[in-house]
Assembly symmetry: C2
Homo-oligomer: 235 residues x 2
């Protein structure tokens, strides 16, 4: 399968690296490849420059959003949540329609400092915004409730814990469920919440996630819904 991972941050890189290790063909999409490659040294959060990561992952190709999406079977939205709509808008509709978009982003708003708030929140969600903007795209919100290292290696957190699915297209959710299995998520850990509207619930886990990160002092934790009974609730 060919994946276009939109977003060059730590989340996009982690997912791209995992997808490549599973034998998939992966392009990473960015607004301006030249600008992305020109960045030198780690950023303010200590994340290494993209070019340094790229040097260690020659199988992954960098391209503009539109070029990355063009030949892709599946799109992954790993851009910052506040620019996701803009990123996807730069792709020709013909290369979006009918495809599955795995949306792992959260609309974090850092304008008032740390911890960030959410925008939109409660009465809307990024997942729904993406679906509304692209009605023929099959948006599946998932993996957005944990640190990216846990997304691709659930065993980092001992014991049972959940990954949520929200989306209006049952076949798309089935495809994403298979991908999650290939990442190491067992069947019982995948909790289907229902339609894309339920993305409001998972995006709104971010505020407590950020505060748990603060009080626990690490990011190797995840939500487990005790009493969910195996996870296969909404097939």
């Amino acid at each position: 399968m060919r994946y276009a991972v939109l977003g060059t941050g730590i989340v996009g890189r982690t997912l791209a690296g995992k997808l490549v290790s599973l034998g998939h063909d992966v392009l990473i999409g960015t607004r301006d490849p030249g600008a992305t490659l020109a960045v030198r040294g780690p950023n303010e959060y200590g994340i290494p420059a993209y070019a340094d990561w790229q040097a260690g992952h020659p199988e992954v190709r960098l391209a503009a959003f539109a070029d990355a999406a063009e030949g892709a079977d599946v799109l992954v939205n790993a851009t910052g949540g506040r620019v996701s709509l803009q990123a996807l808008a730069s792709v020709d509709r013909a290369h979006v329609d009918g495809k599955v978009l795995i949306d792992v982003a959260n609309p974090l708003d850092f304008s008032r400092g740390f911890p960030p708030g959410l925008d939109p929140v409660d009465s809307d969600s990024l997942g729904e915004q993406l679906q509304r903007a692209h009605p023929a795209l099959r948006v599946v919100k998932t993996l957005n409730t944990m640190q990216c290292a846990v997304m691709v290696d659930p065993g980092r957190v001992a014991g049972e814990h959940h990954v949520f699915l929200s989306g209006d297209d049952g076949d798309a959710k089935k495809e994403v469920r298979e991908l999650l299995h290939s990442f190491g998520w067992p069947e019982a850990s995948v909790l289907d919440l229902g339609g894309i509207e339920t993305a409001r619930g998972t995006e709104m886990l971010l505020p407590i996630w950020l505060r748990l990160m603060g009080s626990l002092g690490h990011t190797d934790f995840n939500f487990h819904i005790q009493g969910a009974g195996g996870g296969r609730v909404t097939p």
Copy 2:
């Protein structure tokens, strides 16, 4: 100890019943006791009339908010979150200041139907609003992330699961922790998130809680933070 449980709904009744069973002296506070007792028959959600519940719990006394709070050692806010500030405003400041308020309410906004939204949300919380309105009250947000039957009987949900604490007063949190133990919550299940600002995180669990209730078809579930490592993170 004498508790004033503010709110006559299912949450207030469940907590009052548990507190009485543990040997505490309990008054339930309401806006207008006469009006509360005059209601006949179950409400639209099938909750029996207060008078019917009261008949089975003669040890619990009903009083106006102000009268219930006057002689109480500890206040419990189990009012609807949208009217909590108003309920507490009707109590003489002398009967509020210095006391612990256990805030189990969520600011659910049903004005746009079901599932309800939150107001305030993200940039503020009901817990913070209560603390700001009453600076000498020692607000502890807890138990607001689960159905009330689970609050007083955590064994309804098999396996480990968490109850969160948010509050600025360490001694108040210690007192509430002891109360939670008496409800059946083991030490390792009580997760202290930090100051009252962290109530934003727990109140924002409600949207996914409501959607989980929908997809699971029951309310005997709860959040467990896998990887929290015993819960004693912020003593």
